[in-house]
């Protein structure tokens, strides 16, 4: 178990309980169960207290937790017959973006998402979920395919942002993102997006310009990372707590602002503490959202999606 910095006191208690149990296993005479159970209760109470009211900065940390389920985990658990489709037909296949045909509850769909990787090797392979233009162009191609064959599109968003690299710029990172957003707005099929971790700026918008956008309870979605914002506006990257606060990047604030449609509850202690439970909740939310859109005609889907974004921003937080 990886503990976040603010979870340190919790780590101590859970560590003690585990130690006691390990000792008891080695020495059958010892009766520690009462003591260990008391520590368990204490840990659970602490977990409740810690997660009851997470600050925006702590939510950023939870959203980036290395044990949090990633795109690949959702695809494997929620979809069948997943058939990855690779490449942008231009330059490369970007491993930061997964995509392909799959069945959701037997219904054929197109699923596309950012994948961050889960150990050093796969993180490097996946470029930490930071897509290059090829990734967005692959997504454009797959959305187009889905549109032509009338398959709903489900996107899973989890990226620190689009990759800031030399080649990425040379090959038109901005153009690729702009066209991906444009493609999202053009397709005559249901487009559903779930922000499962980090929704990092334009790199997220390129997938999340959807009919329905849901966010996991402790995921974040922002125009800039709190660190980036702090270094620009506070001239001090260490002011990320203040920046995270000011940016209103939590699912709760974004729901109030009308930017997202739904919040998916996470298990106590965050998605990483009960991965299968989290994945199942996301599955149920996708099912509901698909159902909401299933009877809409292509023109209506396009029109409603556009109108939704045109209307955005009329609600402030003040009220």
């Amino acid at each position: 178990m990886n503990y976040l910095e603010f979870e340190k006191p919790l780590a101590e208690i859970e560590g003690k309980a585990e130690e006691l149990r390990a000792m008891a296993r080695a020495n059958k005479e010892m009766d520690i169960e009462k003591e260990a159970a008391a520590l368990d209760r204490k840990a659970e109470q602490m977990l409740k207290d810690l997660y009851k009211d997470l600050t925006p900065w702590r939510k950023c940390q939870v959203a980036r937790h290395p044990d949090r389920p990633h795109c690949k985990d959702y695809i494997e658990a929620l979809f069948t017959e997943f058939t990855p489709l690779a490449g942008d037909r231009n330059f490369a296949d970007d491993h930061a973006v997964m995509g392909g045909l799959a069945r959701f509850d037997d219904q054929p769909v197109m699923v596309i998402g950012h994948e961050k990787g889960n150990d050093t090797k796969t993180r490097i392979e996946r470029n930490f979920g930071m897509a290059r233009p090829e990734g967005y162009r692959k997504a454009i191609r797959l959305m187009d395919l889905a549109h032509r064959f009338r398959l709903p599109v489900i996107t899973l968003v989890d990226t620190p942002g689009a990759y800031p690299g030399k080649g990425a710029e040379e090959r038109g990172q901005s153009e690729a993102i702009a066209r991906s957003t444009q493609k999202c707005l053009e397709i005559g099929v249901p487009l559903i997006s779930v922000i499962i971790g980090e929704g990092g700026s334009g790199g997220a918008v390129a997938f999340a310009t959807a009919n329905r956008v849901a966010m996991l309870e402790h995921s974040v979605y922002s125009v800039i990372s709190p660190e980036g914002c702090a270094s620009i506006l506070w001239k001090d990257a260490e002011k990320m707590r203040e920046a995270a606060e000011a940016l209103r990047l939590t699912a709760q604030d974004l729901h109030k602002l009308g930017v997202i449609d739904r919040i998916i509850k996470e298990p106590l202690g965050g998605a990483h503490r009960a991965r299968q439970e989290t994945i199942a909740s996301v599955g149920r939310a996708i099912e509901v959202m698909l159902k909401e859109l299933s009877s809409k005609k292509p023109e209506a889907l396009i029109r409603d999606r556009r109108q939704k974004f045109l209307d955005m921003g009329t609600k402030g937080l003040a009220a």
């Binding site: 710029e169 990172q173 957003t181 999202c184 707005l185 000011a246 930017v259």
Partner: protein, 324 residues
């Protein structure tokens, strides 16, 4: 230049915004160091007469130089919610806004106008880098949507001059949502079969480049303009190596196939006219120095109000005079 532009120049040369006059009669070219007299610089559209360095130009000054006779009508932009997030960094957002308004004499970072260039009716939008770095917030989004709607209503092309550091952080996610919003605006033009020409000026970066500024039917940039998604410093920190000379500059993008053209500011007007008229299947514009039509008054004695066609009353074009 053709006679149309010379003929009805407004009597006060509004190429100077009030912030440049009268305190700074001389401007030092940041590129070559030449001292340039303000009048000379303005007549040259803020391009250094010595080294051709393109300095920033305000939307108002650009429109005055662009539209026939310097006459244009502002298109009204719906007011967005002020400070929707109640954002506060070291300063409060409303205080930053007030400071920007005071420094620029403008309400926000984008100006939208309708008018004619070489008798070619267009709608035009220009971003103001001097207003909070031209940043794209809800107002800029509203401006682009309003520009597209007006262009569709009048069946005219839209020409957009971009200049921005990116999205306006003080509007958080709502600034980010301007990426899809402005993309919808571009789609309105596309569906109406109207040309959308983007002129990228220095600098155009971040979420602006990654939305409406890269979706033009024709993409033109001013020389040496920085155009990118991630800025050079961010990239250097990420990849830990020095970037090549000219990286992310207009000419570099042209070489990499990301732009149609890089065009000198003084040649831009004629080029826009040519492109727009071909795309809309109109005969070539008259570019020869024709005699001005009779009767004629000298520009000095002419008020633009008297000269303007009735339907494009230039009340707004005169706002600058009133302020000056």
């Amino acid at each position: 230049m053709n006679w149309i532009t010379n003929y009805v120049r407004p009597k006060i040369n509004s190429l100077f915004s009030r912030r440049d006059v009268p305190e700074n009669l001389w401007t030092k070219c940041p590129e070559c160091g030449t001292m340039l007299f303000h009048r000379e610089l303005a007549d040259n559209l803020n391009v250094c007469t010595n080294c051709d360095h393109h300095m920033a130009i305000t939307p108002r000054a650009r429109f005055t130089a662009l539209f026939d006779g310097g006459i244009f009508t502002e298109v009204k932009v719906p007011e967005p919610l002020a400070d929707p997030l109640q954002f506060r960094d070291q300063k409060k957002y409303p205080d930053r806004m007030k400071a920007a308004q005071k420094a620029t004499g403008e309400k926000e970072a984008m100006l939208v106008a309708e008018g004619e260039i070489a008798r070619t009716p267009i709608v035009c939008a220009a971003q103001d880098f001097s207003f909070m770095g031209g940043s794209m917030g809800m107002y800029v989004g509203n401006a682009i949507v309003a520009a597209a709607e007006r262009a569709v209503a009048l069946k005219r092309p839209l020409v957009l001059f971009s200049a921005a550091g990116g999205a306006r952080m003080q509007e958080g996610i709502l600034s980010l949502m301007q990426m899809p919003r402005t993309t919808v605006a571009v789609q309105m033009l596309k569906e109406a079969g109207l040309p959308y020409i983007v002129v990228l000026t220095h600098p155009t970066t971040g979420g602006v480049t990654a939305s409406y500024a890269m979706l033009g039917d024709v993409q033109i940039a001013e020389p040496n303009a920085l155009i990118c998604f991630a800025g050079p410093r961010v990239i250097e920190q990420t990849i830990r190596e020095k970037l090549p000379e000219g990286f992310q500059r207009a000419e570099y993008l042209l070489d990499h196939g990301m732009l149609d053209r890089v065009t000198h500011r003084k040649a831009l007007r004629d080029e826009l006219v040519a492109i727009l008229r071909m795309l809309t299947n109109q005969p070539p514009a008259i570019t020869a120095d024709l005699p001005a039509p009779e009767p004629q008054e000298t520009p000095e004695e002419t008020t633009p109000e008297a000269e303007a066609p009735a339907e494009s009353a230039p009340a707004q074009a005169q706002a600058e005079d009133a302020k000056a």
